[in-house]
């Protein structure tokens, strides 16, 4: 088993290389280039000569053939140097250091909440199928599933942000002005207060989806023979549900866990823009629109790495959830 995961870890290297080449090509084949974006802002009606464009391309190293650019990038990456952003010439690592903690905080809280609520909720709806409570939950979950988050967030800002209605929550940023001088306790309170709306807006959709998955998986398991056997043995309903059914129904949820790692640093453009939170979502969005090649590459590589690791982790989790799953045989073949 350990051999298998070591092998899988080693396999990450060629996979990542492949992904990086494809990403590099896609990024560079996009129409437009960073030099043009920089000097040709449409409302700046200035004469930009081909010469100034060429000069800017030289500064960005875009005058070199594509393979040279790629190998330069690879050489830097080997030493974990992401290079400089083309937009402001700051080291990319510095930008990521600013943004990742923000997004990580939001996403981890949101995901944790989503899992913590959706699993019991799914179990409840599966075991109380057709009960009134379950029906209400279903309606609510479907409503949550279909409401777009930009709308929910805007409504939250308008009605709860102290405009013309209730002044309950702050509407922008993750801390009040001057909070850095406050005591630790007050600062934490302030932060929690700021987090409530964005986290709620990020969580409700995931929550709805996950609890439906959980419910479906649970329903599937509960109808199987071994559950009937367990019941026939005279085990209490609690033991049946939580010891025998729950573990077995977690497999689809574990599969979804593979997406958790990249999601932790992915960020949401919509939520970040609406709540003025400087996270990874808006950084990536901006990077695409300004064709900030090195920054895009850094984001792609990181997400690819985390996705691969996420898949690996969920493969490992399968063995914990379901002891029948093992990897020894496959390694042998």
């Amino acid at each position: 088993m350990r051999n298998y995961f070591v092998k899988r870890l080693l396999l990450l290297i060629p996979t990542l290389l492949g992904i990086s080449i494809v990403s590099f090509l896609i990024i560079h084949l996009l129409p437009g280039d960073p030099a043009r974006v920089k000097v040709e802002a449409p409302e700046r009606n200035q004469l930009v000569t081909e010469q100034t464009l060429r000069e800017t391309r030289v500064i960005y190293g875009l005058d070199q053939p594509l393979y040279v650019q790629y190998f330069r990038w690879l050489k830097r990456m080997v030493t974990f140097d992401f290079g400089e952003s083309l937009r402001d010439h700051r080291p990319i690592i510095e930008k990521l250091k600013e943004r990742i903690p923000v997004t990580f905080k939001l996403s981890s809280i949101s995901l944790l909440l989503a899992y913590l609520i959706s699993i019991p909720l799914g179990v409840y709806s599966a075991t109380r199928q057709h009960a009134t409570g379950e029906r209400i939950i279903t309606v609510v979950l479907f409503a949550m599933y279909s409401l777009p988050n930009f709308w929910v967030a805007t409504m939250a800002i308008v009605y709860l942000g102290g405009g013309d209605f209730w002044d309950v929550f702050p509407v922008f940023g993750l801390a009040s002005a001057g909070a850095e001088h406050w005591s630790w306790w007050k600062r934490t309170q302030d932060e929690v207060w700021h987090l409530i709306l964005p986290v709620a807006c990020m969580t409700y959709y995931t929550l709805a989806v996950l609890s439906r998955y959980m419910r479906a998986a649970m329903l599937d398991i509960i109808r199987q023979d071994f559950i009937r056997t367990a019941r026939a043995k005279g085990l209490s309903e609690r033991v049946v549900v939580y010891r025998h059914a729950l573990g077995n129904s977690l497999i689809p949820i574990v599969t979804l866990m593979g997406d958790v790692l990249p999601a932790l640093i992915g960020g949401s453009v919509v939520i970040e823009t609406l709540f003025a939170i400087p996270g990874m979502g808006s950084l990536s969005y901006e990077a695409v629109f300004t064709r900030d090649y090195p920054l895009l590459m850094a984001i792609f590589t990181l997400s690819a790495l985390l996705t691969l690791l996420g898949i690996l982790v969920s493969d490992f989790l399968y063995t914990l959830v379901d002891p029948r799953i093992g990897y020894e045989n496959r390694v042998a073949t």
């Binding site: 437009g32 920089k38 449409p42 009606n45 930009v48 500064i59 922008f172 002005a177 609406l274 400087p278």
Partner: protein, 578 residues
């Protein structure tokens, strides 16, 4: 805290009701706290709609960077040599220059004497070397300043001596004084950006020559300059000093107590970065920000009224030199004929478009010039909305529905074209169905083509479109050459490929006419020609709306982006919040 504020607001209203009778509205619609002399103190918390790319005065691209660095009037953290005088918006107010530049008889040399005794925020004295350095850094082909380098095309050399600096031009051009010397170049500190004096050994001529691209010293300077730590911590000469930039959150400026000129009143300017308009307006209403310089039309019309709003906040409108126009690709078979272009304009109901899209926040103009400026020809009446006359013109031009399919055609070509827009352009989304409907009634089929924002300009410049709506924001005074001269069809902003020898001649003549009266006459004639030619359909000149806290006094709104100039704003002692 909240309760206190509410109570305070309540007493304010009471106070107004009582005092309102005896002091008939000193500040117009404003609430009278106490009249009298401006006092220092308090902050202004201003919404910034995006994060600046950098606060390097030479390399910046985003307009928000400019708002923070020198505001609307060329002076905030950094300063320019000259600033606007607010009477006629000419650039005649000396800032870092002691007096307006003297111009040689051949209009090839501009001489400026710099102000004595000015100090950078770190105490270092300001000298002509800083001015020289700024121009060298901008012209250097290795600095990431391409967006600004193009305005220096005609600058041949700079000579500095004592406190005097001379700009030598390679050819005369009436706009060079404004674009090169006075109004576009903020002065950067040499001792900060070139602490090792790497550029000292090179003259301006060297830098624009072949050495500029290859010399290792210049290369080293440029790399250092592009990534300089002070690009995020500017050191200027202006009335406000940089305090901090909290990425994605806020930028804070504090008053410079050692400022050489008239000191402003506000202790601090805090720029909060809030991209979303709804969140920004909510934050304004909740008192978390004080100034929202750009409201959406719907917010101005419907979400900024009522007694709760009026107690705390005031709103108003101001116009800025920004206009939208529909470019017709003059090379396309249908738009080649000026009668067709006239007809297209007649099919665009501009009054109604301003009413429905801008909710009245706009003005129909038939010119590229600012309607408040002297170049603007007020005798030109916009072409009225007239579908009947348009149909006649189209018939005259030979565009008739020969095959009876409801779409006009000529020589086997159908009058069908694409309307190009970019993702996220709200005006395009609103305009396109209105136009398509109007054109369909006239027998013209218009379809939408949407491309990504980043490749929009390139597509326009390469004329790979039939028609498109484009907005331009400029200085109050502008040279029409860049958009309307035939040579600007290659690489410039003459997106529509408009080529007219008479127009070219007038534009060229105007550039060399140094007498304002005579030049304006040329422009008046040129505008008549443009009205007849209709190379584009002018849609509207933008009126912006703003809302701000009533505790500020002497609030001025300017006809330039960003629209506010906080230098004159102040808050009575009793109303100060910070």
């Amino acid at each position: 805290m909240e309760l206190m504020r509410r109570l305070f607001a309540f007493f304010l209203v009471l106070f107004t009701l009582v005092s309102g009778c005896s002091h008939p509205a000193e500040h117009g619609e404003g609430v009278a706290f106490d009249s009298g002399q401006p006092v220092p103190g308090d902050w202004a918390v201003v919404r910034l709609e995006a994060e600046p790319d950098t606060l390097n005065p030479v390399n910046y691209v985003s307009s928000v960077a400019q708002y923070v660095m020198w505001g609307a009037k060329n002076s905030q953290v950094y300063e320019l040599l000259m600033g606007y005088n607010t009477k006629d918006w000419d650039v005649t107010e000396p800032l870092l220059a002691e007096a307006p530049p003297t111009v040689s008889a051949d209009h090839l040399t501009y001489t400026i004497t710099i102000r004595d005794g000015v100090k950078w925020h770190d105490g270092h004295p300001f000298t002509v070397d800083d001015v020289l350095f700024t121009f060298k850094a901008t012209a250097c082909p290795l600095t990431d300043a391409a967006a600004h380098r193009s305005s220096l095309t005609d600058l041949a050399d700079i000579q500095a001596e004592g406190r005097t600096i001379r700009f030598l031009m390679s050819k005369p051009n009436v706009y060079n004084l404004r674009n090169v010397v006075t109004n576009l170049m903020p002065i950067a500190p040499k001792h900060i950006f070139d602490e090792e004096g790497l550029l000292d050994g090179f003259s301006y001529k060297d830098i624009i020559g072949p050495k500029g691209k290859t010399d290792p010293k210049i290369k080293k300077f440029a790399e250092h300059f592009n990534a300089h730590p002070n690009n995020r911590a500017p050191v200027g000469t202006g009335p406000y000093k940089f305090e901090k930039w909290d990425s994605g959150r806020e930028i804070v400026l504090v008053r410079n107590e050692n400022y050489w000129g008239k000191k402003p009143y506000l202790d601090k300017i805090v720029y909060r970065i809030i991209p979303d308009y709804t969140a920004a307006l909510t934050a304004l209403k909740a008192g978390e920000i004080d100034v929202q310089p750009r409201l959406m039309p719907i917010q101005y019309k419907e979400q900024t009224s009522g007694s709760a709003f009026d107690q705390q906040l005031a709103k108003m409108t101001y116009s800025i030199p920004s206009r939208f126009q529909i470019f017709w690709n003059n090379e396309r078979p249908f738009f080649k004929d000026k009668r067709v272009r006239q007809a297209m304009t007649m099919l665009v109901n501009r009054e109604k478009i301003i009413e429905s899209i801008r909710l009245g926040l706009g003005q129909v103009v038939e010119s590229t010039f600012d309607p408040h400026g002297k170049e603007y020809n007020p005798n030109i009446k916009p072409i009225p909305y007239d579908p009947k006359r348009a149909a006649e013109l189209l018939d005259e031009a030979g565009w008739k529905d020969h095959d009876g399919d409801g779409i006009r055609d000529k020589d086997g070509v159908k009058f069908k074209f694409d309307f190009l827009g970019s993702t996220g352009s709200s005006i395009f989304k609103q305009l396109s169905p209105v136009l398509a409907d109007e054109f369909r009634k006239a027998g013209i089929e218009m379809t939408e083509r949407i491309i990504e924002f980043s490749v929009m300009t390139q597509t326009l410049k390469e004329h790979r479109f039939d028609a498109s709506v484009v907005g331009f924001t400029s200085d109050l005074v502008q040279d029409p050459y860049q958009i309307w001269h035939s040579s600007s069809a290659a690489g410039g902003s003459n997106f529509g490929n408009f080529k007219n020898p008479e127009s070219d001649r007038l534009i060229e003549q105007a550039r060399l006419e140094f007498d304002d009266e005579k030049r304006n006459q040329l422009y008046w004639r040129w505008q008549e020609l443009m009205r007849d030619e209709q190379p584009v359909t002018f849609l509207y000149y933008v009126t912006e709306a703003a809302a701000y806290s009533r505790r500020f006094r002497d609030v001025e709104w300017l006809p330039l982006r960003p629209g506010y100039d906080l230098m004159s704003w102040w808050v009575p002692k009793s109303a100060q919040k910070h």
